[in-house]
């Protein structure tokens, strides 16, 4: 970020600090504790989780170190090997991550986020979502949150050829109805699933609206369960008084490890998502043991840059 005067830069820092302090208060109030991620990672460990070309590498003696590109994996590496059965941690972090820009130079992003690790109870999804909604509501004039579940598309595309699956996911991600229709006509898949796929972009809005669209379609149990779980979530969100939520079963997670509920929050004045998160139990397996894990992350610089009013 560039500033014309020192004063401008200090004003920005002040605003960022105020925002961060208020966010931390909310996290602390909900029982989250701060965790400090390590600054350096070993190249050999991180190279499996992100594109190595995006790493900022340092050579220290005979070792290649990487400036942390991501906080979630950093935290999991510390926690998962050491977590005992029955233990759970509610953690928040406020840290900068480093990525190489394709045209040279380093991009620093200040990430603020939460991770709830180890708690397998039913209420973790809704509690985490409600916390995300609290943040969106407090730090914006108006917001919209989209909620989906990565399992829906996963189950729907089970049985499709790998090449077809990749293209279908890309088209669904772009909400490309025209090209999806053409592609669906060429693939082999269960008839009921093809029908749901042809309606995929209509599976949006409230759960009642989505169920109405599917009322004449045969839905297998796996998909039905996802819908029912989202309905429970919807009720909890409505009870808490939050309205600006749109469910979207065509949501494609932008991270391979999401495995369950996924969500993104947009605030007025922002051209892209401000907050994103989801359940990612699958990722924890890689660190030693499958553990329930859910969290979300906010781009703090982006939030402060929008100069959104903070509600008191």
């Amino acid at each position: 970020m560039k500033f014309l005067t020192v004063n401008e830069e200090l004003q920005y820092s002040k605003q960022k600090y105020k925002t961060m302090r208020k966010m931390e208060d909310i996290f602390l109030d909900k029982g989250y504790m701060q965790i400090e991620p390590t600054i350096f990672e070993d190249y050999d460990t991180v190279k499996n989780f992100a594109d190595p070309d995006s790493f900022v590498k340092l050579i220290s003696g005979n070792e290649i170190k990487v400036l942390r590109p991501d906080i979630t994996t950093n935290i999991l590496r510390k926690i998962i090997p050491n977590i005992n059965t029955g233990e759970s941690f509610k953690l928040f972090y406020d840290a900068t991550v480093f990525r190489r820009k394709t045209k040279g130079g380093v991009r620093t992003t200040r990430e603020v986020g939460v991770e709830w690790i180890g708690d397998g109870s039913n209420s973790t999804d809704q509690d985490t979502l409600l916390l995300a909604l609290t943040i969106l509501d407090k730090f914006s004039k108006s917001y919209v949150m989209e909620i989906g579940n990565s399992k829906f598309l996963s189950y729907l595309l089970k049985g499709a050829e790998a090449i077809d699956k990749a293209l279908l996911i890309e088209l669904i991600k772009e909400k490309n109805a025209s090209e999806l229709k053409k592609k669906l006509a060429t693939i082999t898949l269960d008839q009921d699933k093809l029908e749901i796929l042809s309606l995929i972009f209509k599976l949006e809005g409230s759960i009642a609206e989505i169920k109405k669209v599917l009322s004449n379609v045969n839905i297998e149990d796996d998909l039905s369960t996802v819908l029912d779980e989202l309905e429970i979530l919807e009720k909890a969100i409505q009870s808490a008084g939050y309205e600006n939520v749109q469910f979207d079963l065509s949501m494609v997670p932008d991270w391979n490890y999401y495995d369950g509920v996924i969500f993104q929050g947009y605030i007025e004045g922002s051209y892209k998502e401000m907050l994103k998160g989801g359940r990612y139990d699958t990722l924890t397996e890689i660190f030693g043991r499958r553990t329930p894990a859910i969290g979300f992350m906010i781009d703090l610089d982006h939030l402060v840059g929008i100069k959104s009013e903070v509600k008191e």
């Binding site: 772009e174 490309n176 025209s178 949006e204 749109q246 947009y266 922002s270 051209y271 892209k272 998502e273």
Partner: protein, 210 residues
Amino acid sequence: MNTIKIACAKGRLGEQSIALFEKINVGKSVDLKSRKLIFKEEGFEFIFVKPSDVYTYVKSGVADLGILGKDVILEEDGGIYELLDLGFGRCTLSACGLKGHTLYKQDGILKIATKYPKTTKEFFKAQGQEIEIFKLNGSVELAPIVGLSDIIVDIVETGSTLRANGLEVLEDIKEATARLISNKASYRFLNKEIKEFVAKLEGALGEAND
């Protein structure tokens, strides 16, 4: 009432876009003959920009929706929703060259001049052909004639420009038509309005095909 801001391409694509909008009673404020670039009416705001800039305006959120060719979309790196194929502006991205020129050099590097480096790289990588790209911004047909490149990758409509320069289509790469794209945040905030607009456009397109 919420306003939908639409970025239209100047030129023929813009004219065809407005023609389509008029079928659903939208775009009455637009005067394509004037030098004005912004037009406002109830529920909509239209801005006219260079075709290759429509994507930038939509991605940045300054425009909620945009109309541009699939050929331009292919060169960008996503981050928007592609809501509808509008059908007009049909053309084909093709590899072209002097008559009878070979498209595949077994032991050589094929030199290609193009406005579409990304699409070109992807196509020839899949074919296993090594290439060198010369990015040009216009009059691409000149390149093989003056010896800058072996072939070109460019959009072809009727093929008359190619023929006039002694070139021909060697291989088709991708078909491109005009698409309606949306900013992701706008899609959420103006969800009802955008879905209604798309449904009306689909209706108008459907009638045209009957």
